[in-house]
């Protein structure tokens, strides 16, 4: 049964998700081009995008395949890039844990940076939202993004080198992720976490793909909680 709360949450999600289109489209197009360059067929490119649906990891895999890396290494490196999503998965538990299993499975399949961050921001802003509406919102955001992601990567694979490097589309991704996270820097603790994340990840840049980021993220979470505790003590 669908209630009006769920419907309006879904539409709100869809609308918020569409604001990501001008990031998702160039990024997905670039993946299509990269996949074509690496020698993947159109069917393989579509398979990648639909089944894996994780941009950064897809790029990592295709780049390594271009270098003819061993299959085990391609898998390890690309999956390490996705390990941050285990953190997203855990962070969604307090909000979505009581949803039916099939809904949690669907949310898991569609859990990427944009859908996760947009949804968490919504859940924090509206703590009284019922669980079913939270799921509906999440699916709304991802329903706006996933088809665009798939369609644009197909376009990229078809047009290939017609996209000039001078467009510098690669930098759209950092701009988008920074815009996602900046509104969340509400407290000193959040700012401290972000700074620790930056410093540690830059220091550990030499570590194999994704692992430096995981350590940086963990240090940043600890820093956030420490500063939060310290602020509470000071206020008390």
């Amino acid at each position: 049964m669908t209630t009006s709360t769920e419907k309006s949450a879904f539409w709100a999600g869809l609308r918020d998700g569409l604001s990501f289109s001008f990031v998702v489209v160039p990024f997905a197009t670039l993946f299509g081009v990269a996949a074509l360059d690496a020698g993947l067929t159109l069917a393989q490119t579509i398979g990648f995008t639909v089944l894996v649906i994780a941009g950064a990891a897809q790029f990592a895999a295709v780049q390594l395949m271009l270098d003819n890396a061993a299959i085990g290494f391609v898998l390890l490196a690309a999956l390490a890039v996705n390990l941050r999503m285990a953190m997203y998965s855990a962070a969604l538990v307090p909000y979505l844990g009581s949803a039916p299993l099939w809904q949690r499975a669907l949310v898991s399949y569609l859990n990427f940076d944009q859908s996760y961050v947009a949804s968490i921001a919504k859940y924090e802003a509206e703590p009284d939202l019922p669980v079913s509406a939270r799921v509906a919102y999440f699916l709304g955001v991802s329903s706006a993004i996933a088809p665009l992601w798939i369609a644009a990567s197909i376009v990229g694979a078809l047009i290939g080198k017609a996209i000039p490097d001078a467009l510098a589309l690669d930098f759209i991704l950092p701009i988008a992720f920074l815009s996602l996270v900046a509104p969340m820097l509400r407290t000193l603790a959040h700012v401290a976490a972000a700074l620790v994340s930056i410093v540690v990840s830059l220091l550990l840049i030499g570590l194999p793909s994704g692992s430096g980021l995981l350590i940086a993220a963990f240090c940043a979470m600890v820093a956030g909680v420490l500063v939060e505790t310290w602020m509470e003590r000071k206020a008390a």
Binding site: L40, V52, N82, L101, F171, L178, S179, A182, P183, V191
Partner: protein, 111 residues
Amino acid sequence: MNYSAGEIWLIIGIMAVGTFAIRFSFLGLIGDRPMPALVLRLLRYTPVAVLPGMVAPLVLWPAATGGQPDAVRILAALAAVLVAYRSQKIVWGMVAGAVVFYAGLWTTGQF
């Protein structure tokens, strides 16, 4: 690239299963069971702990410039952060970042 079609599909298949397993891990298996208070506190910092670290090297050492720091990219990143923070709207941050980025590329003759 010299993988067979089967090998490529193997990579895609294992990545698909592995990625889903990572995403399903906690949400799927913990479900409704309560988590320790400390873990919940740590997890509230997940977005601000992951995304800045993920983006920092891309901003400071972009592949497009051969890893050399580029003033245009750093300014565009700062514009995105400031505008998204002040307006509390993701989309305005993205617009500001993109405008500064392309205006900067154009002024410096890179576009």
